[in-house]
Symmetry: C2
């Protein structure tokens, strides 16, 4: 039997019918409805109702959602991108509307699970994935299971401090990994770097995106290359911290910013090695994530299968 | 049946006969013999042979050892305090000499397991312990099991960086937690603080120990109190990092330096809270370790029981 996969973001809901092997039979995109989780669940149930005629009942649904979520209880504490959704028992709401078993988790945890089951983490037992974008997220697989921690909030790698008293972070702290390599910080660093690099095409930097910095780096722009290398160097310190604590087999790096590929990953691997005690830990592989923006949607589906 | 517990340090081998509940029937101390692991195993076997007459056969032995150890394989990579012990298959060597099943792990992991089973971690499922001394060590219990990671080196909390480019660490890195709150750094900070604090009894600081700083703090010495509070503040940042990544139920703080108690722990709790995202994670309890310098010995014994 198939699975209904759902990935709820602030703008759109990505959803689809997925096979037990992770094959996508059909998928769609709905604008995230106003009206909170009940309205969203109704919309998803409506879409699912239409597809059931063609593909039969789904055995379960997996729901990925942006925000602070207790994945064990399927409970959303709060989501910056979903105003009005605070303290929502998503598992219960979607379960009632859909009439099938529902697994709910944070979109980052879902993406990590997707990478573990069918992406960059295949074949490992202890696996970490980090997503780089506006924010820096992370999730952990230990002994073949998604690890949630006591309150369901494990894996907040973006908010661990690597420069005490460093630049301010969206979380209210200072010097968190996210404050250093979130996309806004990268763009700001690019503008600074370009200002002291003659001839850089990044010089007019208002509204600069990481994609534009990557494109400039591909054309050999020194300021762009330096900006991404510094991003990688800082990322490598964060990865070394994660390796010292968790010693996973591999860490996958995904998210929009990771689209810059080896401009970031190579300096990150080098910096990580420099910050590790002993050569043994250097065996931890740093690999690009493989599932792109389908990771949360596919991972939620696979998680629904796992939880049955 | 009883268990043989062994804790191998650079100077002494602590060993004893322990019940399955962790009661100590008899214990002894031997000088760590020159001649490497074979000589040590022979000495331990001799001691055990003498005790068998009185207490009967032990069902297993648990060996705690300082150094970089793969606890799954019982293999010692290297130990700064045990020259000539590099690349020793301790599990096999001690197993052969003792003729009973043997579990081997890093002394810090053993201490963590001891605290989990019969100390400050009782009743939790996800637990971390940190030991503060010359070095800063750590270990992790996840879902009721000691977590080793891919190479058996998880829990090296002392070598995660919290001040990028900060003070040099014994590991060759900079700004690691150990570089900031290892006992030598605390002593150095006490001397600096005393130098600008009129009337501090710490002013003549050569060879100052953390115990002396603690004693001065108990007498109200402002420089001593400030030094320990700063230690706690830095520790709290490290604990917040661990909480963001692992979200355990509790973190126990032990080791000689932790003898300074709430002079360090209270500022650590405050600093940790300030560095956490969201109030939810503040539920993580920071507690003193309970087993003192018997933790590794008792934990090794309990680990031997677990592994059977």
């Amino acid at each position: 039997m198939n699975i209904l996969g759902v990935d709820i973001g602030g703008t759109n809901v990505k959803l689809g019918i997925v096979t037990e092997k992770g094959g996508i039979i059909e998928h769609g995109l709905l604008p995230t409805p106003a009206g909170g989780p009940e309205a969203a669940a109704a919309k998803v149930a409506e879409w699912y109702g239409g597809r059931r005629k063609h593909h039969g009942d789904a055995r379960a649904a997996g729901i990925a959602c942006a925000g602070l979520i207790d994945g064990v209880r399927g409970f959303l504490y709060t989501s910056p991108n979903l105003p009005g959704w605070d303290n929502a028992p998503l598992g219960e709401i979607f379960g009632r509307r859909l009439g099938i078993p529902v697994a709910v988790d944070n979109d980052v945890n879902c993406a990590v699970w997707g990478e573990y089951v069918m992406g960059a983490g295949r074949g490992t037992r202890h696996f970490v994935a980090v997503t780089l974008g506006t924010g820096v997220g992370g999730g952990i697989v230990i002994d073949g299971r998604l690890y949630h921690g006591a309150q369901g909030l494990a894996g907040e790698i973006g908010h661990h401090v690597i420069i005490e008293g460093g630049p301010p972070c969206s979380c209210g702290g200072r010097g968190c990994l996210e404050a250093l390599i979130g996309s806004a910080s990268i763009a700001a660093r690019a503008v600074e770097t370009a200002a002291r690099t003659p001839g850089s095409r990044l010089a007019l930097g208002a509204g600069l995106t990481v994609r534009e910095i990557h494109e400039a780096a591909l054309l050999g722009d020194a300021a762009a290359v330096e900006t991404l290398a510094e991003t990688g160097r800082l990322l490598g310190i964060g990865l070394a911290n994660v390796v010292h604590i968790l010693n996973p087999e591999a860490i996958a790096v995904g998210g929009g910013v990771a689209g810059a590929g080896d401009f970031i990953l190579e300096p990150a691997r080098k910096s990580m090695k420099e910050h590790l005690i002993g050569d043994i830990l250097s065996a931890v592989r740093i690999v690009p994530a493989e599932l792109g923006n389908m990771a949360s949607f596919l991972g939620a589906s696979m998680l629904a299968l796992e939880k049955q």
